[in-house]
């Protein structure tokens, strides 16, 4: 079996990251880095709230025009500002979970992103979401690849053995 697998092309895995919460981002990056460790070619397609995970932690909030600047000010994003989907409790719950993660020596979202990049995981922001929210490629961290649309995602997904929506 191993002989057969060697000759074939790498298996693909595609993940849509729609959500922008800490716990869901963690699930996405755990699966992406594990997939890459299992020899799969992994693409992560970030759309809507998922874009918050990719935004820079530093600098001014992105956005073109007053209204979109306001949106990105309210919806600031950045890996360090992500909240838990439950028990955020004005930051107390999230802070506690981050501490538990650290105590368990689990990498932070930042560390997961760097690991994923080093392993060749592609992180692709959805061009439509970026357009709607007035975000250019400059709004995102350096690990992030170039923008793409639904056709790109579907073309990856149809060749993938594993496709997830988070």
């Amino acid at each position: 079996m191993a002989e057969q697998e060697k000759t074939t092309e790498k298996e693909k895995m595609t993940i849509v990251v729609f959500s922008g919460e800490l716990d869901k981002a963690l699930a996405a990056f755990i699966l992406a880095t594990t997939g890459a460790s299992m020899g799969m070619d992994v693409s992560m397609f970030f759309t809507f709230w998922g874009l918050n995970i990719l935004k820079k932690n530093e600098g001014a909030p992105g956005g073109k025009g007053v209204m979109k600047k306001m949106l990105n000010f309210m919806n600031r994003g950045g890996s360090k500002r992500l909240k838990l989907s439950k028990f955020h409790m004005f930051g107390m719950g999230t802070g506690m979970m981050k501490k538990f993660m650290k105590d368990s020596r689990l990498p932070s979202i930042d560390e997961f992103m760097r690991m994923a990049k080093d392993m060749g995981v592609k992180m692709i922001p959805c061009s439509t979401s970026c357009g709607i929210m007035g975000l250019g490629e400059g709004a995102f961290r350096e690990e992030v690849g170039s923008l793409a649309g639904a056709a790109f995602f579907l073309n990856e997904a149809r060749q993938s053995k594993v496709t997830l929506f988070i």
């Binding site: 079996m1 191993a2 697998e5 060697k6 298996e11 755990i30 880095t33 594990t34 890459a36 460790s37 299992m38 020899g39 799969m40 368990s104 020596r105 689990l106 990498p107 690991m115 392993m119």
Partner: protein
């Protein structure tokens, strides 16, 4: 069981033992054996699954005092 190299994953949870094993196995020559020491019980299911997908051979496990030792023979290209 005799191993050529050892990887310490004690105190680490999924996915770190798998991620570290995937990195470490690159340092081994084909046919060499890697010993992974872990205490997350998930590894008993995860390592055979990782081996099956990557084309390596899971030779066996030893469990003693909460520590699990897994032996993986590098057979992937």
């Amino acid at each position: 069981m005799k191993a050529d190299q050892t990887l310490d994953c004690v105190g680490l949870y999924c996915p770190m033992p798998i991620v570290k094993t995937a990195q470490k196995i690159k340092e081994l020559k084909t046919g060499e054996v890697l010993e992974i020491v872990a205490d997350d019980k998930g590894i008993k299911q995860d390592m055979p699954a990782w081996c099956q997908t990557t084309g390596n051979e899971c030779l066996g496990m030893e469990e003693a005092g909460g520590e699990i030792k897994v032996y993986v023979k590098k057979t992937q290209k």
